[in-house]
Amino acid sequence: MATTPTDMELVHSVLQGQQQQFAVLVERYQGMVFSLAFRMVGHREDAEELAQSAFVKAYQHLAGFRGDSKFSTWLYTITSSVCLSFLRKRKLETYSLDQERVFSAADSQAGQYSANQVEGKSKRQLLQQAIAQLSPDDARLISLFYQGEQSLEEIGQIMELSANTAKVKLHRARQRLKTILETQFATELSDWQAP
């Protein structure tokens, strides 16, 4: 029975000249890298291009990966950096971490969703919509923690923060997400409550 090669084994194979082994790593992480990029930039085409750039950069710097951290942590650090450079270049409006501003933005957008629009939407879609309204930083934190299976220490490493700061920021990000959900999807949210 063939065993699935680990990330580190694949990295070694690529470094020894088996370039095609990198495709296995791409297949393994493309969903998460793309999701992370999409949640940060909010645009599918841009996210796809940035995710590709992140993989190409990872390939170019693969020799510099020492295995001190998980391959995924290293890859998400590159993805974050690529997306942040893009956001800086594009001078997209980035929301400050100031709670009041995010809350007021959520309030102003609340009226844009009619009952019909919300009706029939799955929990996944609602969550997706609510996350799309978070700042890139908040969306990145939630994505890394819940989807990327990164610990607070690893998130701190990716975002160049201490683990404690990452923890506090994650609390705030979830709080803001909750506020958006409560403001815009109050009816649906009541169904989520544990009985």
Partner: protein, 173 residues
């Protein structure tokens, strides 16, 4: 107790970051205090929803192929770079500068400094009917050499410019 503090404590517990003592204290609060219980239920619902309902999005079907094609193109770029390395480009540039300098030095050496105020450097006068054999100049060894040198330099510059643009586009500088 303010809501923020309450939330922080509950989140810490849900994330498995609380100490055993804190966990015990929190469990007691949740079972005895209605406000704590309600807040816990809300946050737990969101936490569970994030764990189960947050989708991993998928890129297009060609994503992996696109990445591998870009990586293959990188390999070709490196190969081209090894053919046209900077030493060759600088060498050709140096040859060009040396040729110009030699011509200038030769012209200066031909000046008859003893001729006084009258210029001894006679530029060829444009004569009506005189015809310059441009074809002969270009097809001669000097002309051919110059064409080759300039072509290589132009290609090298174009390559550098286009590669820069490509890298900028893909963010792989």
């Amino acid at each position: 107790m303010d809501t923020q503090h309450m939330d922080d404590q509950i989140w810490e517990w849900l994330d498995g970051q609380s100490s055993p003592a804190q966990s015990q204290q929190l469990q007691q609060l949740i079972s005895t205090d209605a406000a704590w219980a309600a807040r816990h239920a809300e946050l737990l619902a969101l936490h569970q929803s994030l764990q189960t309902d947050l989708e991993v999005l998928q890129p297009s079907m060609r994503f992996s192929k696109n990445v591998m094609e870009q990586i293959a193109a990188l390999g070709l770029q490196h190969t081209a770079r090894s053919y046209l390395n900077n030493r060759i480009i600088y060498g050709l540039g140096g040859l060009f500068v040396a040729a110009i300098s030699a011509i200038i030095l030769y012209a200066i050496a031909m000046v008859d400094w003893a001729a006084g105020s009258e210029s001894s450097l006679q530029l060829p006068g444009a004569q009506a009917g005189s015809q310059i054999d441009w074809g002969g100049l270009v097809s001669g060894p000097v002309g051919t050499g110059a064409v080759v040198v300039f072509s290589v330099l132009a290609l090298a510059l174009a390559d550098q410019y286009l590669r820069g643009r490509l890298q900028k586009r893909h963010g792989t500088s």
